[in-house]
Symmetry: C3
Subunit: 350 residues, 3 copies
Amino acid sequence: MQFTAAQIAMMINGQLEGDATVSVGNFGKIEEATTGDLAFLANPKYEDYLYTTKASIVIVNNTLELKQPVSATLLRVPDAYAAFAALLSKYQDIVAQQLNGVQQPSYIASSAKLGEHIYIGAFAYIGEQVTIGNHVKIYPGAFIGNNVSIADHCTIYPGVKIYHDCIIGSHVTIHAGSVIGGDGFGFAPMPDGTFKKIPQIGNVILEDYVEIGANATIDRATMGSTIVKQGAKLDNLIQVGHNAEIGSNTVVAAQAGVSGSTKIGSNVMIGGQAGIVGHITIADGSRINAQSGVSKSIKQPNTTVTGSPAYDFTATLRSQALSRNLPSFEKRITELEKLIQQLLAEKVAS
Amino acid sequence: MQFTAAQIAMMINGQLEGDATVSVGNFGKIEEATTGDLAFLANPKYEDYLYTTKASIVIVNNTLELKQPVSATLLRVPDAYAAFAALLSKYQDIVAQQLNGVQQPSYIASSAKLGEHIYIGAFAYIGEQVTIGNHVKIYPGAFIGNNVSIADHCTIYPGVKIYHDCIIGSHVTIHAGSVIGGDGFGFAPMPDGTFKKIPQIGNVILEDYVEIGANATIDRATMGSTIVKQGAKLDNLIQVGHNAEIGSNTVVAAQAGVSGSTKIGSNVMIGGQAGIVGHITIADGSRINAQSGVSKSIKQPNTTVTGSPAYDFTATLRSQALSRNLPSFEKRITELEKLIQQLLAEKVAS
Amino acid sequence: MQFTAAQIAMMINGQLEGDATVSVGNFGKIEEATTGDLAFLANPKYEDYLYTTKASIVIVNNTLELKQPVSATLLRVPDAYAAFAALLSKYQDIVAQQLNGVQQPSYIASSAKLGEHIYIGAFAYIGEQVTIGNHVKIYPGAFIGNNVSIADHCTIYPGVKIYHDCIIGSHVTIHAGSVIGGDGFGFAPMPDGTFKKIPQIGNVILEDYVEIGANATIDRATMGSTIVKQGAKLDNLIQVGHNAEIGSNTVVAAQAGVSGSTKIGSNVMIGGQAGIVGHITIADGSRINAQSGVSKSIKQPNTTVTGSPAYDFTATLRSQALSRNLPSFEKRITELEKLIQQLLAEKVAS
């Protein structure tokens, strides 16, 4: 798609300086952009690039005073970054709206109920009794198990698998390859050392505005539901165990894991590769640093922990620093022992 | 599916109290169940819910003495939890048996041999010379490479990929998105700093009753086989390197990794996010705690280790506790140094 | 495929001893091989197996002197291992060449441009404006998004998903289930505690000779490109964040993660389950041990670090060893305190 400077000026309510007919089809960073690109300048430290950029159009702040002539067409707005971001969102909406209809071959059970303005890609599988809302996009090769419901405005990327009976709220995004509702890891030990599977008959509920990264796994509950609450954002390759709860607006970075039955509060931040044991509670607003291993409940809201096992952040930093001083500690202790022995020897001698 | 209280009483050999004609179609927790649900009461601490539950049928222990009237139909058995679990298994078997036949479109090579009573979902791919046993379920979008064999009663969930030549025992379950038999990570360093791939021509063998979670990866051997032995249970997102062996009835929690050529014994428990280096041996019955990093063989059976690098559990706990005391250690050493200096100064002065 | 000893002797330029007409169809380890297998003997410590092996053909070093009669046909070459490895590569090339043509059903957009001698498996999806080079193999169920380009001699295994606009160099291999170009994890915090998605409009570039393991995730850049440079090898389940760069010939072991905007130099080795925070730089030739957590840039080339947080390898090993001595440290400090108190008490008394 191509847009002229005049068209974009209207979209973002910007003041146009330069050629109104020049057109762009791509976005670029001001330092890397080429002809036909739209860029922006928000941070004054990049201003030099404005005079050398090959971008055709640059969005700038109203307050900018030019020090040299500029070849690009300028669009002046109160906040260049915000205007650029809004434009990106609008652009992505336009692209997304172009995706619609049902590609063939796909498999849609006759009992499935489909909303309006949806896209179902080739090789997607829609099981029995599935309900799909309006404006939902299901990319190629996704698997939607029996009796799943997906509310309006969701995007299910290629190869996502949602097992039977799971419930997906509105405006949910699930990236490629993630598995929602696989069996929880529940096995009862038998007297002969083998394990007997405990049936996992619950489901997973993803509430509205949840986003899940690629190749993540969220297990179904043994009974009841594993729940990811409204607005939570989970990154790639994360694991959420059966019957766990992730609070609203909580953010979980890549490769972190939450074990079964643990309840994470709201507005918690969990760093990459962190792990949280099962059956504990993490208070609202907690911050769990990357690679931490949390083995006990965090009861005080807004606590920051770090380390494995995880403890209070500041204390742990001090201990970690001292732990690198251990060689000097040992030297000081040995020296003290020598001095004491001297004193004792002299006392005996005297 | 709907079952009446009378039908369920027969299935679990229970003694019926109340309306025998009431019917249920779902399972629920006693505290959350609604009309049409079947629940159970095993733990006396939940007894209060029995008098308020909306469940239509509740399975209870023979020994229960009612303190108030109950609206649900009761089914009395010697062990309510065991009866409930048995019912769940039976129910899942019934559901599973409904899955059968070959959905279209699917791709089945003409040289593949298919057993009886199987299910092959839409978009599943069955390669040349593949052998599939009886009662096997292959969900939509699974990929079964050339010359793979899958024995009876296996369940291969959506989007599982099994590379060529792998051997899957009977009663094996593989959850969605897992990759069995990808190339081992083997590259020979060249003098110019590049790496040359070492061909990986072995396979993976999953023995009977193995269960693999979602999005796990088990690499094929360079030569010979990577083996997961009978009854081992591996959770989501785990990694098993080339030529590794996982012993029978060993349990590996989510996001753990076992490097190439390492042999894990039987009945070992490996915690979440633990990592085990290559070319070592872990004795039977060992317990490797979550997030541990095991860098040396464990030769003594039933050893518990923790930490990264991993050491004996009790000693590590003590060191970790003391490590949080390091600030007080430093204070005590500094105090001792001051006192010694005083004593020495006085001695010189005297 | 079957090859006679005479045919293989020609392929590897070997000197034949024994029956030239015996034929083999498989490779095997000398200690496990059976009739119809080809094995090799390079390491003298396995020589005993030569006299008992059931392999039909064994490749041996020219210098080998037989101590007993051998039933297998021998092929003598200057370097038995090198000849065997060359044969494996040749064999895999032959197998790979048998894969060609377009299986049905598959989905190929009419605007896609396909090279020659390609294989496209059933249920593969090739989007609009996709360009695919010569000798490319795309296995069943792979998803190639709009405007992706894939250069010559690439292998894309089953169920790989490549999002729109990504660029794949030549001789690239991507194993099953990996996701290339999913959205970077970028969300702006709003005053009400919710998060607003930052559009991710960049792409991923995989340069020539890159290999990516199974179920890995490499996120697209917010703007610009996430880049994996020539010859880098990434293992299973690894995570690369948006706008990160992985240098040429760098090796990343399984389950490691590189956060957004971090630049990894060339010839770096990153161990399994290691994590690297965002916005830092790792110098060429660095070695990051398994499970390390790197929180600061590494500026000195060829540095080895370990631990979480990661520090210089040798110093960390010393601290870790001393940390296990903490119980004895405490004992020594307590003993010193007792002695000092005695001395002070005596001084007062005297």
